[in-house]
Amino acid sequence: MRALVFDAGPIINFATNNLLWFLEEIKKRFNGDFYIPKSVKEELINKPLRTRRFKFEAMQIAEIFVKGVLKAYEEDTHDEALKLLDAANKIFFVKKQPLRLVHFGEIEALVIAGKLNADALVIDERTTRLILEEPEALVRIMERRLHKKVKLNNDNLRFFRKLVPKVNMIRSFELVTIGYELGMFNRFLSAGEKKLVPDAEKQLLLALLWGVKLNGCAVTEQELTKVVQHEISSRKRKVL
């Protein structure tokens, strides 16, 4: 069975952007299961239920759980996630102090993606992605902010990578772009709307991508501009 594993960030992003319906649509197209770690379920439903500001979003997430759009991964991954978390937290050092950069939930999502041999991990979070894809960039960020030398322990990084199965990572940003390509947002492009909104196709894409960026997906403005140019020129080519 095909699977995508989600960290908390993209689900929070879709909920705050009123895009949980889109998750349901893209799941049908994917033809597989969408999982989250058990610890992430607490962050997605129980915690916001205790607030005033995000209570309704929590209710909407509860609804997609009931519908089976999202499933909590039920097998016990606690010990494995702890082992991996420990390894992740011994990669970067200031003086001799290890920098504990990542959270249990983020690491648990990685473990589950490995266990399920998932097609991808959907994670909006910058730090976890950088540890796996570009640890040197993380060193640069930290050195600039801390004004201290940050040492990357390559042995520990290799050990961490050995524990982490090869997992591809995507963000809510890519999912929404694919949804746009597949016409899942075309209901916002009716003739009436096109009359009301000049250059409606481009405006819709900008609205979607800025929406996910402003709600916390770690994507740079430069990346966003590049994707908009790419998508709009692809559309033009198709029309021609």
Binding site: E106, T127, R145, E174
Partner: protein
């Protein structure tokens, strides 16, 4: 001047001494700023609240985090120009400084906790429903920890806030734009496209 004294009082190079020295420096500066308050001082106070963030990122100790939140929340309360609370703020800060100076850590923590309670009391008079000034301060400092390389989940955990609040704050800043990445966005998109064909 104070900082040199502290070097003598808190001897040794251990981690705790580093943290204490920085907290003492911040409290001293805050007291100094609050003596004759001007508009520019509020900006200074907000900046001061970031001085323990380096320690908080590295050691992740509660004291560095709490003082950063406290000083930021203090600047917001003072911004509202509620002079009635100033004597109690002064009293608490001086007491906290004295206890820390005497290595009475528990009493210091109690005093900071009381200061936060005083701030919360002033804040409750404004009758806001959603975010208190202390919540705002926690979110701001969470953003700083994220800026220093911590993940969103980790920063939320350390500040005791939900990821919802932090994510929505960080999304509205340019924090993720600061570093150019090597990863090609169009390649990532191509991979994602392949998942849905």
């Amino acid at each position: 001047m104070f900082i040199n004294n502290h070097f003598f009082l808190i001897r040794g190079d251990n981690l705790q001494a580093d943290i204490k020295r920085d907290i003492l420096q911040i409290i001293d500066n805050a007291i100094e700023i609050l003596r004759i308050i001007e508009e520019k001082d509020l900006i200074e106070l907000k900046e001061l609240s970031n001085h323990t963030i380096h320690n908080a990122s590295i050691y992740q100790d509660k004291d560095s985090i709490t003082i950063a939140v406290t000083i930021y929340a203090l600047s917001k309360i003072i911004e509202r120009n509620d002079a009635k609370v100033w004597p109690s703020i002064f009293y608490r800060l001086n007491a906290a400084r004295k206890y820390l100076w005497q290595n009475q850590d528990d009493k210091y923590r109690k005093e900071i906790e009381n200061l936060l309670k005083d701030i919360a009391k002033v804040d409750s008079r404004l009758k806001l429903y959603a975010e208190t000034v202390i919540d705002q301060a926690k979110i701001k400092k969470g953003g700083k920890l994220f800026e220093h390389g911590l993940s969103m989940g980790k920063a939320s955990e350390l500040l005791g806030i939900s990821q919802w609040e932090l994510q929505s704050y960080i999304g509205n800043t340019k924090l993720v734009d600061a570093e150019a990445m090597k990863t090609n966005v169009l390649e990532r998109l191509r991979f994602a496209r392949g998942l849905f064909q």
